[in-house]
């Protein structure tokens, strides 16, 4: 499950992010209107947690825009301090899936998300397939090739998961770093830890099947192709 947190207040953002990460969600963050708009447009999320009091624009416009672009399948949950019933009604009118007044407990957030998921998917398990016979069971955190299990470490699994989730799109090291570590730390990263992880993933997978679906795009980053 892929979640975008749109929230400018750092402490709240961090708290929610941490919680969702530990609950095994894949988390993205945006702190301004522009950033949020861009990410929603580029990526596909399962959930968008949307704060209304944003710098740079009204969060409700984001929702409106996203709904107009009907490719967007994300469920929107509106978070706001404004107790105004107005906003709530407007939000739900515009197609928000739920509304959570601040302050809220993380447990409540989780149960709302689960409720929406049930409504949306029922109980069917989520599996992603790619490459030559690989299938990734996200909730079980298992990667299989045929019926053999491929052992990956946490970072390896997360990295591959993120790449597979964005099949056919090139992801830069910066993007991968940001999503897997949350902190950008600018582009001073003379480090090559992502390359190392990629190498290790390739090595492990190659024992089972060819790994040419995991491509290097020179000068940019990596891509998983169909």
């Amino acid at each position: 499950m892929h979640v975008l947190i749109v929230e400018d207040e750092k402490s709240l953002h961090d708290e929610v992010r941490q919680f969702l990460l530990e609950s095994q969600y894949l988390v993205d963050s945006a702190h301004t209107y522009g950033e949020a708009s861009e990410k929603i447009f580029v990526n596909s999320y399962d959930f968008v947690l949307l704060d209304l009091g944003l710098p740079g624009g009204d969060g409700l416009d984001l929702l409106r825009e996203a709904r107009r672009n009907d490719q967007q399948e994300a469920s929107f949950i509106i978070l706001t301090a404004r107790g105004a019933l107005d906003d709530r009604i407007k939000g739900l009118d515009l197609g928000a899936d739920d509304y959570l007044p601040k302050p809220f407990s993380l447990l409540e957030l989780q149960s709302r998300m689960q409720a929406i998921m049930r409504r949306k998917f029922g109980l069917k398990r989520q599996e992603i397939t790619f490459g030559s016979g690989f299938s990734m069971d996200v909730s079980g955190r298992v990667l299989r090739q045929g019926d053999q299990e491929v052992a990956l470490t946490k970072k390896e699994f997360d990295l591959l998961h993120y790449l597979v989730l964005h099949k056919n799109r090139v992801l830069t090291r910066l993007q991968l770093g940001e999503h897997l570590w949350g902190n950008v730390l600018e582009d001073d990263s003379d480090s090559n830890y992502i390359d190392v992880h990629i190498k290790n993933i390739r090595k492990k997978l190659s024992a089972f099947a060819p790994t040419d679906f995991l491509e290097t795009v020179r000068g940019i980053g990596y891509r998983v192709t169909e």
Copy 2:
């Protein structure tokens, strides 16, 4: 056993709740129609004790809605002051499992619940099997391997039960803590009590059969595999 009490009158609610807690049920409460609807949707209960005179909507609608959504396996017991035969018939028509006119004694409630459980599970007790010949009798709170009984403490049993219920899914310590202790996070509890329980479970089970079905997923949590 997980029970939801839907009842707006506080004193009656509290009395029933207290009683069920002491009878080792896991109890949830809802005081309005909306709250009840949400909880039924989100969680899965074994019993719903349903008051009909609810603020916010007719309790019978709840029942209807829940039955339509056929994932819901809860047994409904209708509690109402209205002596009207009408409601009784309507309720049972809609799939209620029993009907209890107020005022009722707690002992009567208990015996009705037990009757339903007997009807539901019959003589074939509800059993979950896993690992190499282990079977868990949930209602009797007994774990067996073959025909030998494995003695577990309450916490151990609950923990294993929860893991087994979610076979093939990785559960984080956070998730386990939440469901078994109602733990709120806040402090990134560096406690290792879950690890200790897992270790004790493994030790006890390993005297009977291999315990490799109970896996550690490094950096994430634990998983029981098929």
